[in-house]
Amino acid sequence: MKSIRVFLVAVILAVITLFSFMAALKGYNSSMAEADSLFDRQLQETAQLIANIHPKSTANNIDHESSFAFQIWREDHLLASSLNAPTTLIAPLAPGFDYNNFAGYRWRTVAYFDQSDQYWVVVAERTDLRYTLAENVVLESILPVLLALPLIGLLIWAIVGRGLMPLRKLADELGNKQADDLSPIPYGSSSKELEQIVLSSNKLLARLERSLLREKQFASDAAHELRTPISTLKVQIHNLRRELPENSQSLFELTATTERLGHIVEQILDLYRTSPDQYNASLTLIDLTALVQEVLAEEFSRFEVKSQSLEFDGQSCLISGDRFALTTLLLNLLSNANKYTPAKGQINVSVNETDGQVVLKVEDSGSGIPEQHYQAVFERFYRVGGDRHQSGEPGCGLGLAIVERIVEFHAASIAIEPSSFTTGTAFLISFPAVQGDSVSVPGRLHNKLS
């Protein structure tokens, strides 16, 4: 992720550096040109001066290391020279400036013809030394800029930071929002540029809140609107039982259909209520064993009707969870075990803590799920064998989809394996265990189930 601040500071620093160096380069070039003509004039004057002095007397005063060298030529004879000059011609004998190489250096040379004495004076100056001064001048002007760059960078960093403060504030404001907090963002202190963003976000939040409210309202309305008539149907069936013969086939069908209707309505409501954007539950510390015992006690009669044996084994285990969701999860697993296990079958439920995991296991001696269906059973409205499920049990295929959602919501995992009986299925759900002494419950896991 790119930071606007880092980007701005880097770009501004780069621009400053670029322009400083361009200015320095320009200054260097013009300083060099200026120095060139100045030194050239000096060289010319030196040549004239040497020409005016008696050539022999000056010969030994200039040592090897000097930045100057000269020769005096009359036609092909070297009349005099400095010690560091070779005996050969150091520059062509033509008036004017030139560059030449000798004695391991590059020299600026000038040849001057003395009309009165009829000899050539050739003067040379080492180019590397003559520019030292000019370079120093230019460096002196660039160095402060170079040294100041980090300081300028810091300053820009601070200024950009200050300038971006409203944006950062807005970002914090948004970042600190709970996933279900749809209240508008305050924008009193924000800058003009952000106003539109804040206004638009607030409008969006308001719209989202309205639509979520509508949906929540719908769920609760639908629950009421559907459950009350189903209750009426049940009461009327109860009343009919007095008027109709005991073994009335119509009454039997009516009862079964009403049960099925009620079941589907409950399942759809459960699925809806446990959907991530709806589900706004708070996680609390829950003793899973106690909860399982309660649910088993409530549901015992349905196992008793089929003469199924129901056993539970478990020690008190704490997990962080939502009571309503966990109850729904258990009801769905138990309902499946009850439905798909034949009469006189065995259903075992256990809660165990191993390696920081609290494992809830529901296994039955039923027909079992073929392994190739293990994944598909979690899909909505999927039933093994389709509507012609061999058990002949009514169902809508939503139960395990609901279970999976609740599992995800609790950051738990679910696995299916063959049961420890000769036939049947075991559902294992592993929750992260919560240590008894640390009562830190993870925050809302409300958001973003994939």
């Binding site: 629950a223 459950r227 439920v349």
Partner: protein
């Protein structure tokens, strides 16, 4: 026994009225919270079945207002909202019991029997299941007409099981009935009491659901 049914859904109200009448309950129906408050203040019933989703006043509000004057009137909530929070807020507001729609009639009758027994009328103070009968007023238990010697804890355990006949009572529920907070409970105390009860009542009367709890079969 006089029951007031507060339910705005006409179809459900008349079906319930018919079903309860067959069980020899005298039943009045009102369809709004205001009407319910009026009837309760002028002609108090023995028991109220209150639907939470009323058109005028929220059911919980009706419940709270009734509780301000009538502390002992048994109130059974009936609601289409089956959320745990609703149940808790209903019971916190003074409801005696709570039944979520859609419910089984047998379940409703069972709850009504428990509530009626609390009214302590002589007719309902005795719970008889098979050979065993328990008198809540006299705190006595008899088997086939012969009075049994039970310890206080054994009596409380049996009462809890018989009052909720047909429903499994978890170990946790039973233990919390027997012992007050902080009391040291031996891990097998409950088993010991049940063992003693079985010796006195016969081994089949109390059924064990392994790992979950105990139950007494419904009569």
């Amino acid at each position: 026994m006089q029951i007031l049914l507060v339910e705005d859904d006409h179809a459900l109200a008349s079906a319930l009225q018919e079903a309860l009448r067959q069980q020899d309950y005298a039943i009045n129906v009102v369809a709004s919270g205001e009407a319910a408050l009026y009837v309760i203040s002028t002609d108090p019933p023995d028991l109220v079945i209150l639907d939470l989703g009323l058109p005028d006043i929220d059911g919980i509000e009706v419940l709270k207002r009734v509780r301000q004057k009538e502390h002992d009137l048994p109130i059974l909530l009936l609601t289409a909202r089956a959320q745990v929070e609703d149940k808790i807020s209903g019971l916190d507001s003074g409801a005696d019991d709570y039944l979520a729609k859609p419910f089984e009639m047998e379940e409703l009758f069972a709850r009504l029997r428990v509530l009626a027994r609390r009214l302590n009328t002589s007719k309902t103070a005795e719970i008889a299941i098979g050979e065993v009968s328990l008198d809540i007023n006299l705190k006595t238990v008899s088997l086939g007409g012969t009075e049994l010697e039970l310890s206080r804890k054994e009596y409380m355990l049996l009462k809890s099981l018989m009052e909720n006949a047909g429903r499994v009572q978890t170990r946790h529920t039973l233990e919390s009935r027997l012992y007050s907070w902080g009391e040291e409970v031996a891990s097998n105390a409950l088993e010991v009491h049940i063992h003693h009860l079985r010796k006195k009542l016969g081994s089949d009367f109390i059924k064990t659901i392994r790992g979950v709890g105990y139950k007494v079969q419904q009569p």
